[in-house]
Symmetry: D3
Subunit: 256 residues, 6 copies
């Protein structure tokens, strides 16, 4: 069920009986010469809506702008500062609990949001307000991702390219895939991001010219569909597991 | 041009030449038994995209959750606290200026966001970071609104109902319009919101049972179309006026 | 009863029996060539003290500096930033409740404070700490204001001029009333403050040369007295109504 | 010159030529059974206005509520939390500099405000925004205070009692002076506030029953006048000294 | 008992039975040409560990960097801004209470930390989270300090020099004591820090060339030992007194 | 060079010529039944001091308490909330730049601090205040760690045990190593920390009874020495590389 489509009286029964919300979060940021800036929020919303459709759990509207300051050198990247993002997500989540929601899955498709969602989730749990966890689709199917791509790339690579080819094909510049690969860094190992144990880079522009990594020519809509199906199954399973838990079991352990 | 659809290299020319962004902001909140909770952000996004299409100015993705704590008693209303909303919008806007944007129209369709957007805009201008102003569609066409409806209602009334009937007809429960009117407060004058010069109410639930005001049976998709056309023209004119100004003329006056 | 004049043991009975405080708030800001910068806090304090005298409710000392950044271009205007003002008023009000106060009237005479006092009041009520509402004298007697003045002006106009002529006549430069009118904007309609539905101005200096609006020559101490009497009656009535309510009835409604 | 009394055009010359502002700050808090809660802000305002009258420097309206949480157990004490007080004073002072003020004397009559005013002053100076310093009347005339009173008391004692007897005699309950002494702690040495080198008390209520220290029967309006005259001379001298300094000499030293 | 040395299971008994923690806090800042920048945190840690050893109470690791912005002009001084210091100490202390600690002695050896520790302590007590008080060694033995030194100096003087000569002799440049005295301000009275009752200086560099006051040639390790022994006894006595109190007796008084 | 040991005049030359500071940061938190709570800050300080000794770069005192809320259920764990930790480190670092430091290595030995140090570092770099990067010893020698231990454990495992056996042998309970292994989770793979792609645990107590992972019986002081030597070499190399860079090259790239 998509919250945005519903009139309030039609949500009463859900809140009485269920208490789980899927909150999609992404980013609006450069994804190379071939992918749209909406890539991450399009993916997050697709997963959250699909899982909600299949299970009957509630999906909320999407947080479209996240923590993307590390892409600031590229035209159009939008972002909010990390403390602001955390406050926004925390406030939004706390207020959801006014209706009875007590467990939340942050359906997230942007790596830059991860530590912030974890921090918010830890705080909400510690306060015993809600149990909120972060989920990223590719983390749920690491073996399939490895199987499908030789160089999947952490940002704007064939993994995300395939996904948008499947979800929003008209937004992919298929004629720029080789350009994306050749103007970026095909292999993450070559990206030279760690120096004597320290991550010495901060911005995408520090180690790529066009903002992306991996071999984009390896992408296809068919692979996108495979990824989407496999990861949706994982998300559905996560929601069902979460729904089965007693709230008390999700809350912090007692002091030893 | 819709920022979310573009790949970054395709935005370079725009940022060199233009510097205006339309940022749609709405809310996700109860709009009575007949309208979807997405009402305000659907309307905001429709206006911003339409004006961007007609003019070539840039439209960003939408901020879907705003300041709606005064609807908290109704299922599904989402909100962030006012300071959080201001921080989020301010951070998002400041960062847009990294690419050259220096004037912003907050295409807003939720009254509860207004003072906060004004406060953010004043701060950005005072810092000479950007000139950002708030626009609400119904404020731009007050005479037409008055002409079309006897009781337009400030929230969930025939004005917003007509708009959604036009923009997203499948999301309106047309069979509940009389129920919406009868269970709410048809006339704002009757809503009893001011006592000896003081606004004594804080929440929608203080003076309406179902969360809405006005006579919803007076709505139609045709009226929605009229409103949309008329207000879009105003928004287009505003953008063009704004684009014509020298940046210095938009900045604060000098001390006397 | 004026709190500042009392020794603490003499307040014990009041706090046992009553729980209402009148808190005057104004600004220190330019009011044109004819009125003193204290105009707003002088008016606020006069109303609060008078209503306290007539009813026996408690009046606190005045907050003299408010949200007046939009008058910054004129010599002597003092202000604090909006978040600071909100924090100050909220902290002051929360702490008043330590003694038993649970309802507060913000006797406010400065339009720029309004949204901030509303925001603070909403927060205090939501936390069930106190029921605090904002009152402005001219909002309580709109018909009389309209009757007395052809062009009353929202700032430094004949309405405020009459009030200071009545309350502190020696602080009015009666010989500058025509100058005030001619150097300002006589008619608000001419002030050109809204463009295609958007309020495009932020500072008083954007649309007036001397900082004021309306026709000041229309002012008189007699009119000031009429206004003061009429609005005081409204404030007294508001306090009495408020005092009659059960605290629970002033608190937020339950979730539907 | 008192800022509140002036119309803005009449301040232009001052700001061109002078750049010093006296800002009175006090508290609204219990001062025993004999003194009004306004004691501290009445005293602060009296000194600031008098020094302004004698010198022609600018005096602003008064900050009436300060850091008085340590008197919270007594009816009527008003306060804001320390961070809020600092923010309020800092914002107010920063904004004064918009008109050309670059040195400020915080004419303070409440000990609880001191560290906070020092902290704000340090920050403003470090940022090279203004040179703001805190002044307390009794600190400027320690020998006279010692001469006049055997037990002057740090709060609500004969020192402050004499001052109010002189400034606002009708606000003193002269018939309660012995009661004030006997119900409080006559000698600070007996107040038992330090334990093995640690100040172990936080609130006035921790060591006095009626909130005051010292021997109030030792007070008189004549002594108040002496104190007022002597301390005013000090304040005048301080302002003149300050006015004589080059701004650069008031700013932080360079790094060694 | 030193918390840092213990494995968690070995602390269980302590937290069951005792509830007092000694938290050492100092600074890292210039102490003249003869003393190390660690002076204050070395002293704080020495006292806290010694008192813990003698009594069995718990000593935590040390907060090494405090509020020392007023020494910023001298090489190597480290500091955090006052609000940051307060937040750090408050958060650290609140979290200690998770294990049962409900009374804390801030064993502090830096004057610049004092008002901030008092502010944090007041807040923690008001919230009834813990009773935390600040202790400085020299405040506990004022007579001995006066006896031992003609000019003890508030910073980097013979008092602190003696202490480091005793605690960490290899860190004192004994050959620079006369240089320290001659390049600084031997007598505090001569430091010219108060003007007509106002403290007009903010930084150490405002009134000393080398950052220190007092006559350092008057220092010796023997005096340091005397001071250390005498003040440790005071700290031990304070802890024992604190331990003897009922928690309720340490909490705020009720409203009168 | 260790900053804490130096008198300020002796640091002048360093700041003129060098601009790198090593800042050790750890935590004070449970490390199982066999290791002291100081484990992480002892390790951090040892590395930072050793690298400073070998290279001549500056080492500051240690931040002993970090982000360890996820160990709160175990006696003695100390922590500050994440926003507080970030503010503390950021303020401390910004202020170091007053002396000329413009590059900082956060020598960190606690995984829970990592994202916060990265966030602070990104902010400092974006503001062009300093280039600060986080380094963790075990991240610098992943192959050696893998070679030495079958199950190294991310917290309190043989890796950290070996290190403390080498650095502070008297603080290790060698007789509890088997107990540590058997009461914890020997293999991280068994710790069940990820569910369908989501990290579903927040606290150490969620998946271990005694707070530690890995096989502690595999530890030895010899291995500790090997690890210490190898990682110190990496840290030295990192500092030298950093020192060789032009500051401009460490700052953010320009917008494309």
């Amino acid at each position: 069920m998509y919250l945005g489509d519903e009139a309030w009286p039609d949500l009463g029964t859900y809140f009485e009986e269920e208490s789980l919300a899927l909150v999609p979060l992404g980013s609006t940021e450069q994804h190379g010469p071939h992918l749209p800036e909406s890539t991450d929020h399009v993916i997050a919303e697709a997963f959250a809506r699909e899982a909600a459709d299949r299970t009957g759990f509630l999906c909320t509207p999407t947080v479209n702008v996240g923590v993307s300051g590390h892409h600031r050198q590229f035209h159009g990247t939008m972002w909010v500062e990390p403390p602001v993002f955390r406050e926004y997500v925390e406030s939004l989540t706390r207020n959801l609990t006014a209706h009875g929601v007590d467990r939340v899955v942050y359906v997230n498709a942007h790596g830059g949001n991860v530590p912030h969602l974890r921090e918010v989730g830890a705080r909400l749990r510690q306060d015993e307000v809600a149990y909120a966890i972060e989920w990223m689709w590719d983390e749920s199917i690491p073996d399939l991702v490895d199987d499908l791509f030789a160089q999947n790339g952490p940002h704007g690579g064939p993994k995300e390219t395939s996904m948008i080819q499947y979800l929003e094909p008209e937004l992919v510049h298929d004629d720029r895939l080789a350009e994306a690969r050749d103007g970026g860094v095909a292999s993450v190992d070559e990206a030279d991001t760690v120096m004597h144990g320290s991550r010495t880079f901060y911005d995408a522009a520090d180690n790529t010219d066009n903002g992306v990594l991996g071999d984009q020519t390896d992408a296809s809509a068919e692979k996108g569909e495979q990824l989407f199906e496999a990861a949706t199954e994982q998300l559905v399973a996560l929601c069902e597991w979460l729904d089965d838990q007693a709230f008390a079991d999700l809350m912090p352990e007692d002091h030893v």
